[in-house]
Structure formats: C-alpha cells, structure tokens
C-alpha cells in the first residue's frame, strides 16, 4: 500500500474525537479500580471497629490526607505522562510535598517522644504486613490505570508505569487507612510510603513491556 493510499484510508470516515477523551478514560478506569479496591478491602479486611471515634482525632485525617495528596500528585503525573512528549513538570513537587510534610511530622514526634517509645512509634503493631497489604489492595486500581494508559500514548514508559503504580498505591493506602489502627506519624511516613512505592517500582519495571504501543 502506498503512503497516499494509507492517508486516504485513515482520513476516510474518521470519526470526530470526543473532547477530553483522555480525562474520560481515567474517570472510567479510576471508578472501576476504586470499586475493585474497596470491594477487596470489604471482603478481606473490613473497617476498623473504632472508626467513628477515630474520626475525632486529627491524626486520623492526617493519615488520610497523606495518601490523598500523593494520589493527587500521582494523578497529575499520570495525566501528563499519558500524552506523547508529556513532562512531569511540577507534578514531582506535588508528590514530594506530602512526603516531606509527613517526615517532618514524624521527626517532631520522635524527638518529643521518650527514647523507650520510639521503637513502637516506628514499628507499631503491623509494620511487617502494612506495605504488602497496601500493595495488594492497589492491584485492582493498578490494572484499571494500566488499561487506561495503554489506550493512550505514553512515550516514557518506565516513568509512566511508575506514576501509574504510585497512583494505585496511593489509592490502596487511602482505603487501607480506614482499616489500619496505626496512628503514629513515623509509622505512616515509613510503612505507608513503602506500600505505595512497591506498586510504583513494579510499574517502573514492567511499564516498558506493558505499555508499548
């Protein structure tokens, strides 16, 4: 087939592109992904029994705000990296800000605490399982976000995969925070972050293979 014939083929009967096609795709993906992650949470874990009392504590909201802010930063990165030639821009600062804020809070908490209590503030009671549970909960979101991204056109595949992983990890952490009884900033700053970074690393490793177009 000659190039001119291909051009005629492509232009012939081409349908108009709906506006905001990219954003719509992510709304669909995040809707299904969030449904899957929440369902998984409801089946596997449930919510913490003292949820109503916990909502009165400022730390409960800080614990939700941390993954929520990372979710927003990762979403910005995902939207940008889904377009050819898209750059991270200030998405990186939006991602770094909540991490630094949580680490600052954790440092203050550790400094103020008695030396004997510091170990517990860091490890809590669930340090060994927390990151893996967050990563597990992120799986439905991860699948949905990768599906959306695959239908778009990322050109930096490892970075795009990492952003997709971080987005799903942050979503998983947000849901997990409703179950997890840990309330210490050092714990959140380490193990929650690790849980969100696990899918990001997986995304960076498999992005080049999974997102090719």
């Amino acid at each position: 087939m000659k190039t001119d014939e291909l051009i005629a083929l492509l232009a012939n009967g081409a349908q108009a592109v709906e506006p905001h096609a990219l954003q719509r795709r992510y709304v669909t993906a995040l809707g299904w992904g969030a449904f899957g992650t929440t369902l998984m949470m409801a089946i596997l874990l449930g919510v913490r029994p003292d949820l109503a009392e916990a909502t009165r504590l400022p730390m409960f909201w800080a614990k939700l705000a941390f993954p929520a802010a990372l979710f927003a930063g990762a979403l910005l990165a995902v939207l940008r990296l889904s377009r050819p030639g898209g750059r991270l821009g200030h998405a990186l600062s939006v991602i770094a800000a909540p991490v630094l804020a949580m680490w600052l809070l954790a440092a203050i908490v550790l400094l103020v605490a008695a030396p004997g209590e510091r170990g517990e503030l860091i490890l809590g009671i669930s340090a060994a399982s927390c990151p893996f549970t967050i990563a597990l909960l992120s799986v439905p979101l991860f699948g949905a976000v990768l599906w959306a991204m695959k239908g778009l056109a990322p050109t930096r595949l490892a970075l795009a995969g990492a952003a997709a992983g971080l987005l799903s990890g942050a979503g998983g952490a947000l849901v997990y925070a409703l179950y997890c009884p840990e309330m210490a900033a050092p714990f959140i700053g380490i193990w929650y972050l690790l849980g969100m970074l696990l899918p990001a690393v997986v995304g960076a490793l498999f992005g080049p293979r999974l997102l090719r177009w």
Binding site: T3, L10, N12, A21
Partner: protein
Amino acid sequence: MSASEDRLRTLLVRGLAGDNATYHVFLKELSAHLRAFLRGRLSRLPDEVEDLVQETLLAIHNQRHTYDAGQPLTAWIHAIARYKLIDLLRRRAGRDALNDPLDDEPDVLAASDIEAADARRDLARLLARLPDRQRLPIVHMKLEGLSVVEAARMTGMSESAVKVGVHRGLKALAAMIQRER
C-alpha cells in the same frame, strides 16, 4: 512558532472535530514532514524510511485523541515520531547503529519531502489478516468510503460494532507491524 506549526495545528484541530477533508490535508502535509525528518535520521537505513513514515502516520491517527490543543503540535508529533524511531532501532538493535544522535530538538516540522519511496511492508497484506469483524468495517468505510450506516447494512453488524471494528482493526494493524519486524 513556525508557520507549519500554526498551519498544521489548525488543520488537525478541525480534523479532530470531524472535518475529514481537512484531516486528509493534515495527514498529507504531515507525511512530507515526517519523511524529511526520518530520512535525515535513518540515512543508513533508507529502505526503512517509508515503512516508518506509514507506521508513524498510523500511530498518530490511532493516538490522535491524546493531542491537547493547548500543547505545541511540534512537540507532540516529535515525541511520537521519536518513539516509533527508537522502537524500530531497538527492534533492529545489534544489526545497525544509529548514525545520527537522537536530539531533543523538536524540529520535526522543519523540512518537508513529498517524494515517497515505495514501502517495503505492504499494509494491504496485513489488513487482509485481520478478523472479519475488523477487516470488513475497514474495507467498507475506509477503502470504499461508505458511511457507518451503509457499512452496517453491508456487514449485518450494528453501527457501533462497525465503529469499534474500524478502531480496533487499526490498532491491531499497528500491533502487527510491531510484531512483524
């Protein structure tokens, strides 16, 4: 911004809104820019140029919903052309080295070349390998120029199945090209 940037962007934006005649002009002019750009970067692999022009045009068409009208068109085109160029070189890795470094300078619209060589890969042959639910909508709508309604009547498929068939078929075609090399 260059004159070609402004002109091509206007053409594309109208094309994306459903003006197929304008979209045809856009693809035609774009193909000349792509040819000049790729020829400059594949001077050791001249036989690959036209194939890659076709592959890049197909990618731009399939991925056209990722163009944001607020974004410079040159950067978007350059990123796609560069991505497909690197993909080709990676598939050929070890056999030939790239003779010109891949710059970040998005000068993809700087030159134009309307002398199309013959493509070595025949897309018509790949098209024939698609399943009927994708191939028939493409043949009727894209090659014979029938409307969605007419193509639906010809194939006995629903109108939305015809549209989906065209869309998926062109994506499958791009995937076949990647696997074939």
